[in-house]
Symmetry: D3
């Protein structure tokens, strides 16, 4: 159920009976010459809405801009700085718990958001307000991703290309797929040595590694592969929501301090 | 032009030549038994996208959740607290200026956001980073709004109902229009005395005034009226964008300190 | 009762029995060539002290500097930025509740403070620490203000001039009243079109509209009119304090969440 | 010159030619059964205004509430927490520099403010915005204070009593001077051992040491002594202002880094 | 060179000529029944000091407590929350640049610090204050680590055990190595399925996975292996410092915005 | 007991039974040409560890860098700005209370930290989380310090020199003691007049008073005197810890509000 399509009286049963919510988050950032800036938030939104539809759990509107300063040198990349992003998501989430929501999944499609969503989740977990977990679609189906393409890549590569070919084909510039590959980093293994200098990750921005912001070879991506990824990831997300729903809230809270001395004051 | 539909290389000309951006902001909050929680962000997004389409100026993705704690008692209302909202919008905007954007319109459809967007605009104005103005669609066409309906209302009333009837008719519960009126406050003049006790505005939450969160009588709202409002407001927004674009940046910056003594050290 | 004139043992009965406090707030900012920078805080203080005297409720010292960056281009205008102002007032108020105060009126005479005081009031209301309302003197007697003068004005105009003529006549430069009018904006209706460009409020600073910072025609202001305003506003404030005092604290707290399902877990 | 009594055009010469300002700060806190809560801010204000009058330098309105949590257990003590106090004073001061003020004296009469004003002064000094110093009246005339009374005391004692007897005699409860002494700590040397446990200052609140909040014996305080203190302190403040005014601004800025190697890159 | 052992005049040449600094950071947190809470900060300090000794670059004192809330359920684990940790490290680093340091290595031995040090590094990089990189010793010698032991583990396992056997053998409880293994998680592959529920990392605290806080089998760790690790990691760090030192500062700064249009205004 | 040397299971009894902790804090800052930058943190650590050893109370790792901007002009001085320092120490302390610690001594050897540690202690005291006191070693043995040397001094003087001669004699440049005296301020009484201009402390940085950063004459300092100081201060600290341990926690909490009226609602 997409919350924003409903009127408040229609939500009464949900507020009375349910406690799960899905929050899609992405980014608005360069994805090479072949994919739109919307790529990440489109993927997150599509997956979150579909899983909410199938399960009946509540899905919120999408947070479209995330933590993407590492792509800023490419035209149009938008971003919010990490402290403001975390605090916005925290306030957004805390306030949602006013309606009885106490377990949430951040359906995320942007790697730059991961650590910040985990940090927000930890804040809520430590003070026992809610149990929120970050879920990155491609982490849920690693084998399928591995099999997808010869030269995968974390950004603008075949997995994201295929997903957009499936979700929003009109936004893929099919005639630029070869350019995307040729102007970027086709083979990730080629850059690891440059990026890690004696063990330190020395780059801060994508532009340092890729002239066009692309990593991977997307020329073999297809809408059919995208559909397969979408179905598989949706299935994982549905199961995660059901798993969450089946837990007692107490199970999701922090374990207490190790008992230093059975029978003692602690 | 909707930024998120484009690839970064396609934005090169804009970055090189243009300096205007449109940012839609709304809320996700109760709008009575007849309108979806999405009402405000749908309106803001539709107007911003349309004006951007007509003028070619850049429109960003929508900020869907705003400052709505005063509606929180009604199921599903989402909100971000004011400090976090302001800081998020400020960071969002400052970072956008990295691409040469120096004048922005916050296309807003939620009264609760107004003062916060003005405050962010002032921060950017005072340090001369950018010139950002808040624009509320109904403020741009006050006479047309006045003529629209016998019993107008600021929230869930005929103007918002008509707009959604035009923009997203499938989301209007037409069979609940009379309920909306009867369960809420049909005539705003009836409540002013209750809300202002000897000059002080004593209420903090919508629920104190309206049992169903509605103000106004929307039974005479129609999609045709909505279209008229939409066209008129879009026209105003287009003119505002053109006005902004025609200014020299220096004209938009703060006037300096009054000269205390011509020829003095200041 | 003005708290600062008393010794702590003298306040014992109040702390034991009462829960109301009055906090005067103003600004120190330009008010044209005829009125002192103190105008707003003098008015707030005079009204707050008088109402406290008549009712016996406690009045705190005055916060003399407020949120006035929009007047900064005129010599001597002082201001505190909004986040720091809000946090100062919040801390000031929270700590006062340590003595059993749980309802407060911010007696305000500066428009630029209004939204910030409302925001602080909301913070205290939401966490149920106290019930604080903002009260702007001229909002309490709108009809009288309307009748006062042909050309009223929000800043430096006849209402403020008359008040200072009554409260602190020695501070009014009577010989500059005509200058004040002639160098400023006599008729507010003349500037609305300039200030609102297609619905957007495009100005950030008073100087953009008025060369001398004045709005309205104060040449017909008199101390007699000022006394009338003062008496009428004081009377409203007294009634507001009595109204507050007569409430149960629970009445002043937020209404709870709408019950989604009678008998359910919420 | 008291800034708030003037109109903005009258301040033109000052803005054009001068750079010194005096800011009075005190507290609103218990001062025993004989002195009003206003004690500290009355003293600060009287000294600041007098010195400004004599020298022509600009005096701002008073900040009446300071950092007094250590007196909170006594009825009516008001306070602002340290972070909010510092940030308010910092914003207040930074914004005043917009008018060309670059050197300030915080005329302070409350010990609890000292370290916070020094910290704010350091912030302004380090970024070279302004040179602000904290000045505590009794620190300027230590010998005179020492000679004043047999049993001096830092709070509610003879020095403050004499000052208020001079400045605002109607606010001194003369009939409670002996009570003040008898219910408090007459001889400071008697409590040092209690307060410092093996070198650690173990108390946080005045109440831990004094039942009525008083330290010292004020039974020999007189208005004449108060006048003498007032005159002597004012004289010191006048000299300080003249000293500040006579400095080049560069003299007041931080010394640079020690040159590590003459002729090197630094 | 360890900065704290020197007097300020002895540092003159360094300040005049050099720009590199090494900052060791660790944690004070449980490391099982066999290793001291100091484990991580001992390792970081030993490596940083050794590399500084060999190269002559400056090493600062160690930050001994880091971001370890995920170990808090085990006795004695200390931690600082992420926002305060980041801001402390940022201030620590910014102020160090006052002496001409503009490139730094955070020598880190605690996984929980990584993302926070990267975030601080990014802040300094984006505003071009300094170039700081996080370096985690075991990331610099992955192959050696892999070969070390049959059952490696990220926390309390053989690599950390061997390091402490080499650096501070008196702090290893050799008689508890088997207990460490048996009471914890010997084989990491066994827990991945529990920790990732349909792609979401569902645990927040180490205790959820390991009863004694240990991961890996350390029974085959030896001081000799530790020495080998120490030498190899030190060598990597030395090379990293030399690499940093050999860079022009401009090389280390962010690349600029992609030029949208050669010859345009940007 | 030094916490970081222990494994977590070894701390079980302490967590179960004890509630005292000792936290050493110093600085890393110039101490003249004869003493290392480490001076303050070495002293704090040595005293804290020794007292913990003698009593069995828990000692944490040392916070090596403190609030020292006033020494920054001398090579190598490190510092953290006050807000970040306070917040780091507060988080460090609050989290330690998770293990049942509710009373702490900040063993401090740097004057610049005092007020900030007191402020943190107050925060914890006011919300009743813990009772933390700042303890400065030389404040605990004032008579002994006074007798130590003819020309004492607060920084780099005989007391600190003697302490380092005892604790870490290899770090004292014995051949620079006369230089230290001759290049600095031998007699503190000579500078008071310069530092206090008509009662205001006008200096912000040590360099304004002392060319080499030294105050006092350390030529008569010896390791034997250092040992005497060390023993005496340790003895005081041990007694303080025992005193703290012997208190009921309720004794250490704030006294409540003075009862305004026995039998009343408060």
């Amino acid at each position: 159920m997409y919350i924003a399509d409903h009127t408040w009286p229609e939500l009464g049963d949900y507020v009375a009976e349910e406690s799960v919510a899905v929050v899609p988050l992405g980014s608005t950032e360069q994805h090479g010459p072949h994919l739109p800036l919307a790529t990440d938030h489109l993927i997150a939104e599509a997956l979150a809405r579909e899983a909410a539809e199938r399960t009946g759990f509540l899905c919120t509107p999408t947070i479209n801009v995330g933590v993407s300063p590492h792509h800023r040198q490419f035209h149009g990349t938008m971003w919010v700085d990490p402290p403001e992003f975390r605090d916005y998501v925290e306030s957004f989430t805390r306030n949602l718990t006013y309606h009885g929501i106490d377990r949430l999944v951040y359906v995320n499609a942007h790697g730059g958001n991961v650590q910040h969503l985990r940090e927000v989740g930890r804040r809520l977990h430590e003070d026992e307000t809610a149990y929120a977990v970050e879920w990155m679609w491609d982490e849920s189906i690693p084998d399928l991703i591995d099999d997808l393409s010869e030269f995968n890549g974390p950004h603008g590569g075949p997995k994201e290309t295929a997903m957009i070919q499936h979700i929003a084909p009109e936004l893929v510039r099919e005639d630029r797929l070869a350019d995307a590959r040729d102007g970027g980093v086709k083979d990730m293994s080629a850059i690891r040595d440059d990026n890690f200098v004696h063990g330190a990750r020395t780059f801060y921005d994508a532009r340092e590694n890729s002239d066009n912001g692309v990593f991977g070879d997307q020329t073999d991506a297809t809408a059919e592969k995208g559909e397969e990824l979408f179905e598989a990831a949706t299935e994982q997300l549905v199961k995660l929501l059901e798993w969450l729903d089946a837990r007692e809230f107490a199970e999701l809270l922090p374990a207490g301090h190790v008992d230093p001395q059975p029978g003692s004051r602690r």
